[in-house]
Amino acid sequence: MTALAQHAVVAPVLLPLASAALMLLMGEGRRGWKALLNLVSTAAGLALAVALLLRVQAEGPAAFSAPGSGVYLPGNWPVPYGIVLVADRLSALMAVLTGCAGLAAVLYSLARWQHAGVYFHALFQLQLMGLYGAFLTGDLFNLFVFFEVLLAASYGLLLHGGGLPRVRAGLHYIAINLVASLLFLIGVAVLYGVTGTLNMADIAAKLPLVPASDRGLLHAGAALLGIAFLAKAALWPLNFWLPPAYAAASAPAAAVFAVLTKVGVYAVLRLWTLCFPAGAGPSAGFGGSVLVWGGLATLAFGAIGMLASQRLARLAGYSVIASSGTLIAAIGFDDPQLTGGALYYLASSTLAGCALFLLVELLERAREVEHEPAAIDDGRPALPDFGDADPPAGTNLDDDEVALTGRAIPAALAFLGLAFMLCAMLVAGLPPLTGFVAKLAMLMALLDLRSPAAWTLFALLIASGLLSAMALMRVGIRHFWSPQDRPPPRLRVAETLPIAALLMASLALVIQAEPALSYTRATAEALHQPARYIDAVMAARPVARAAAREAAR
């Protein structure tokens, strides 16, 4: 058992890789089996992530103290030379969020979207693999590789379903991300040239020793790396690609993309707190003001964009931008209390964004019913024809030979209305839901900072909440109040279930706000003491051959 528990850190990466490989071997048919495998593998991935989180939390403030816990050497090479995977509180939290979003998206896709392309399930598993890997790795070049894995999968998922709008948005998305990857590579190369290592902990440990003559080069490399991450995290002005791409993506893909921007935020948070803490000598806090003011500009841009967008899908994209801006600005203050609140906001906004992207499609479909009642699935590019007429083989049929999964639930409109209201409250940060608790935690920390930037963020957090509340209320009125006597939309249970589950998770997060906030605050405390992370990684030792044989027995 101990031998298995040892490998728990790498399991969330290996599991989706194995499932994806299996799905590719299955060829183009066997949709049912692939869907089942995808569902089981994603659920197991979530379970593994939760187990990881519980283990990290159980270790308490002394996490990493036991040898080998949380730090995993995949190749069993000594630390600065081999690749290392690290599961600390932040990684575990991000992994759990990935699992939640992934499971919701898979459930949703089972209703319709899985029929729109052959390799959906395999791409989806590879996407999850890249996400888990990026959150768990402790090696800079390995981070690049996992970035490429998740980006390559996201290119495929973005194009899922086809059509001119998706291909056009996809071309821009791929071009932007390829350039960002090249900047990432330049940054990694410069950091390697200056410090002579690629292990994040080792880089952080070596930074104070960098001679003054190399410091300019070091800062240039770090800034290039930062630009690559911030382009991924949709910092203004590097975010014009996001609204069209996310609006064009199919609903389950967009729901997973809500986590993708958080990868950029995660990378900035991890590397910036690790490499440039207050005690880093001449480099202390390098680029902090860029993060703060860039984040503020992003937040303002996102809030105004929400107000200006006509289509609900674009509005959801701008809400992702606004939450990214909030996070990056809060990270830039380098204050543990504020970072703790921001991490709670990260969890809240990821779940809310994911639910909103899933809901957007249902709302748009409800509107299409209103405009053209007879032609829901008429093969238009927005929603290709893979719908009710021909249920896939193996679907459960009821007495009247109607697919059980295609049955309209009676309270469809009530569900849509309630779910939209909850989503709007979460995104706008209205009490009593998680958005409000998160903003309150951040506002309280900002009161103690007393700098002009802190007051600006304070004001912008409140103003952006107001703007997004107005934008969402306008959408709500247009969708639910103004139309008279229209036929009720047809929703499938498989489509409503993930949205309900995500909103339930948000409710659980607000009911359990105290333990959740203390977890994120402990995470922030740990992030602001990088020496603990560095010591833990550097103390990891390869398993001796005899001991490995003993464990295998």
């Binding site: 070049f141 590789v145 490429e148 980006l151 390559a152 290119y155 194009l159 059509g163 001119l164 291909v167 056009r168 996809g170 071309l171 821009h172 791929i174 071009a175 390829l178 350039v179 990857s181 090249l182 590579l185 330049i186 990694v188 190369a189 410069v190 390697y192 040239g193 690629l198």
Partner: protein
Amino acid sequence: MEAVISIAIGVMAGAGVWLLLRPRSFQVLIGLSLLSYAVNLFIFSVGSLSVDAEPIVRPGLPADLAHYSDPMPQSLVLTAIVIGFATTALFLVVLLALRGLSGGDHVDGQEEQP
């Protein structure tokens, strides 16, 4: 040698950026390829350029970078080339799909209105 490599990287990066900003999708593709060549050469060059240096430890030679070439950037470049090649191929597929769907080679799918 440093000057030659630097000029090569600079020329390729400059040409790549210029092509990247063009409105034709094929030019963007070539620009991305040139940029990735420039980046690959750059990574290669951070491991301190050396001629005729040993890549693998040989008995009797002091083990430092004065006598050996750094193998790390070479392995990084190898990985970067493979990944760059794959993503460029993917971009090419999307480029062809856009050309098929829109009937033109403008990156926005339609010509700019004058």
